[in-house]
């Protein structure tokens, strides 16, 4: 997979983050750091969490929120949460 090529769930999350932040899909590379590379602040980071939880009907823990600093990490957190939900 090329650096900017998300598919399936990854693509959906990338789109969601683009909608919340107003950033382009091209900017939202998997490893691009929200704060350092994209200028996404802590307020937007919380808004991303709210949007993700609503869309996937999952619960992200307080301590996971600061970890969501890239699209790639967001995808990982959502995958884990969906898996947990499935096994519950």
């Amino acid at each position: 997979m090329s650096e900017n090529a998300f598919e399936g769930l990854g693509k959906e999350i990338q789109q969601l983050i683009a909608e919340v932040t107003g950033k382009s899909m091209e900017d939202l590379r998997p490893e691009a750091n929200f704060w350092e590379d994209l200028g996404i602040d802590s307020i937007k980071a919380i808004e991303i969490t709210v949007a993700i939880e609503r869309k996937y009907k999952i619960r992200i823990g307080d301590e996971q929120i600061p970890q969501i600093m890239t699209v790639g990490k967001a995808v990982e957190v959502v995958r884990q949460a969906l898996e947990k939900k499935k096994n519950a």
């Binding site: 602040d41 802590s42 307020i43 919380i46 808004e47 709210v50 307080d62 929120i65 600061p66």
Partner: protein, 432 residues
């Protein structure tokens, strides 16, 4: 049942700006904020340090409290003392003295509400850590079965562990002041003070007491600092800048406040000085996360609207609003959104100011401690400006008072958005 009118007749604050109502208010007006770098050492080795609005040279013996009763507490504590408990005792004394209520008779009409987030926990944690460390260096794990270790450990901490339950504190404090009426301990994080006020007011309305003394406090300790630092919301330079572009977090504040509330008729009968009427409070529990508010929710707005409904007050009647104003980008944003949803963007009214830059963030005691400043502002028709408000962030769409203002105030509101989503607002009005 006819709802009684509840009035505030005693204010006993204690913070870095001063101890006791008069010194405290003078300290606010003089901007005597007294921030120091608090160092925590373990066996003289520096563990960590953080900025704190600090009370210097506190001694419970300076408050004219019955020595025999204080000794009884000391005896129960096996000769030790718990600073937070001493703070609460001092705050009750300051508030009762200010109210001039007679509490010497054992059949007095006074009840008690206490609020604190973590009373006694630090002494407990220190002792546990100490024993665990000593255990580690004296013994290998194989020397002791886990069962025997637990048994020894629990026996060591039986008393102090039992004592961090909050009811003994109610017992001790009520006993010092001959309080035999309804009593209650509350913890709703930073909003505890407003919950305590509402609870005290409900107790009076139920007829269980004519007057209630409330004491709320926090004594910020290192473990809370480490937690807040890890969350990225503790100011690294010790400067709290509410609703600013360059805000970088909160700074803890030592102390708390005692407050007496009573039935208006009772207050008038005894010729009490009345600071204000508590018209009502609004409370909403967001219930999203413990440490982060849910941006986009309307929980805080609901708390404010409930306060208007309970108080029978129109939002346009609010002359002065004191928000939580912690100086964290996320929390300030959440709060500004709620304020502008209620009052409109960049409202001319109400005027707004925040008090954490004066007294720090007193956590469980903060909402009522800041209410005390608000009530003194109301009484004196003086609005202390928000300190450190040098770079207001236009994205918040609100403006705070920058210079001291002398203006006729009639109706004021305190609002608070606490951890765990305990959102609260309370409205007060001057009595003619």
């Amino acid at each position: 049942m006819h709802k009684k009118r509840i009035v505030v007749t005693g204010i006993g604050p204690m913070a870095s700006v001063g101890v006791g109502k008069d010194l405290f208010w003078k300290g606010i007006l003089d901007k005597n904020i007294n921030i120091s770098l608090e160092k925590t050492c373990i066996d003289s080795e520096l563990w960590d340090e953080f900025y704190l609005h600090k009370i210097n040279n506190f001694s419970i013996n300076d408050f004219g409290i019955d020595k025999e009763r204080l000794n009884d507490i000391k005896e129960w504590k096996d000769g030790g003392s718990v600073l937070e408990l001493d703070y609460l005792i001092a705050l009750v004394k300051l508030a009762l003295d200010d109210s001039k209520l007679n509490y010497n008779a054992s059949n007095n009409d006074i009840g008690l509400v206490l609020a604190h987030e973590n009373l006694g926990i630090m002494q407990f944690a220190y002792q546990i850590s100490d024993l665990a460390y000593e255990g580690l260096i004296d013994k290998k794990r194989s020397d002791l079965s886990k069962r025997d270790f637990f048994d020894e450990f629990y026996r060591k901490f039986l008393k102090i562990g039992y004592d961090i339950q909050t009811f003994p504190d109610l017992f001790h404090i009520a006993r010092v002041f001959n309080i035999r009426n309804y009593s209650l301990f509350i913890n709703n994080a930073c909003a505890s003070g407003l919950y305590a006020l509402e609870a005290a007011s409900n107790v009076i309305n139920s007829g269980q007491a004519k007057a209630m003394v409330i004491a709320v406090s926090d004594c910020p300790e290192i473990y809370k600092y480490i937690w807040f630092k890890s969350l990225g919301i503790y100011s690294v330079d010790g400067i709290c800048r509410p609703f600013c572009k360059n805000s970088n977090g909160l700074v803890f504040g030592d102390g708390g406040v005692g407050m007496v509330v009573e039935d208006l008729e009772h207050a008038r009968e005894r010729g009490a000085e009345i600071y204000a009427e508590y018209l009502g409070g609004g409370f909403d529990l967001e219930g999203w996360k413990i440490t982060v508010p849910q941006l986009g929710s309307d929980s805080y707005q609901k708390a404010m609207q409930k306060a208007f409904a309970q108080s029978n007050v129109n939002k346009d009647e609010i002359d002065l609003l004191c928000p939580h104003g912690v100086g964290s980008q996320v929390i300030d944003y959440y709060e500004a959104k709620a304020i502008t949803d209620i009052f409109g963007k960049n409202p001319q009214k109400p005027l707004m100011t925040t008090f954490k830059p004066y007294v720090g963030h007193n956590l469980g005691g903060s909402a009522l401690l800041e209410t005390a400043i608000l009530l003194l502002s109301l009484k004196n028709n003086v609005i202390p400006p928000t300190l450190n408000y040098d770079e207001p962030d236009p994205k918040f769409n609100i403006s705070l008072v920058k210079e001291k203002k002398e203006v006729e105030l009639k109706t004021v509101m305190k609002a608070c958005c606490a951890f765990a989503g305990f959102n609260a607002a309370a409205i007060f009005r001057k009595i003619d």
